[in-house]
Symmetry: C3
Subunit: 109 residues, 3 copies
């Protein structure tokens, strides 16, 4: 269920790292690899009056797992993105609430 909402990195680049990245994240989270969603959002960025490349940014949306797991997760994501010769990337986490998440209509609470 952790979702990685990716901006500023091309889908073909994400394809390249997806397998080793997700394997490492699954180990960190102690869950199956098919729980992860890697999703590139289509966006157009603007700076100083013109269209520019989007800054590489990944929002991770998941249930709270605490600071230690979060640190490892961010480190793994950053490492794999940098392996693409992308020098800078920012990663932010946002939490779903269990009482506000429904799988096929059934609340996760």
């Amino acid at each position: 269920m952790p979702q990685l909402l990716i901006r500023g990195i091309k889908p073909e680049d994400v394809c390249e790292i997806s397998k080793p990245l997700v394997e490492e994240l699954a180990e960190i989270c102690e869950c199956e690899t098919d729980n992860f969603m890697l999703e590139c959002l289509h966006t157009t960025s603007i700076f100083d009056g013109k269209v520019v490349e989007t800054f590489p940014f990944i929002e991770v949306v998941w249930f709270e797992r605490g600071q230690a797991v979060r640190d490892q997760f961010a480190e793994a994501v950053t490492k794999h993105v940098r392996a693409l010769d992308i020098p800078e990337v920012e990663v932010a986490f946002r939490v779903f609430r269990e009482d506000s998440y429904y799988i096929n209509g059934v609340c996760c609470l």
Copy 2:
């Protein structure tokens, strides 16, 4: 104002269910149908090294309405999506804060 940010379901499929869905949601929320925004986000999903279909996922962003309304809302969304022969869908809710929402520059607080 409830916004349904939809991923993994085609706009033409959303068109098909939008009318009965929004009518049911308006009843649940006791508000007008024109308060709702159904918006498909354009994304590209990746799994196991290749581009795949995006998993059907709807994020509802709104003001807090409590568990009972949330349960009914999620049930209605799920039911209408499944009517499209989409067997699985996940729905998550995120709340706006009234002190952080501005309509034409005026705070909703």
Copy 3:
């Protein structure tokens, strides 16, 4: 770092206002103009069974700066958008947590 995630306003229109808007926001936030990300999300909106224009909506994602700064920020955004002959716009703020934000793998806490 404040991110403006923009829906329902065309990138070319955002280009037109981006310079004066970001200069004003940088003054309000007392930071550099290159901290800001203006990003148009590609979406398709649906109402009443058909595809419609997306309602102009801007989500600002940033670290908490308090009500006074938020009010000024929303007012500035609204003023510049309206200068494009867009009569209505809604602006909502969402906060990042410092313990959940990583720049090149390093937590902002």
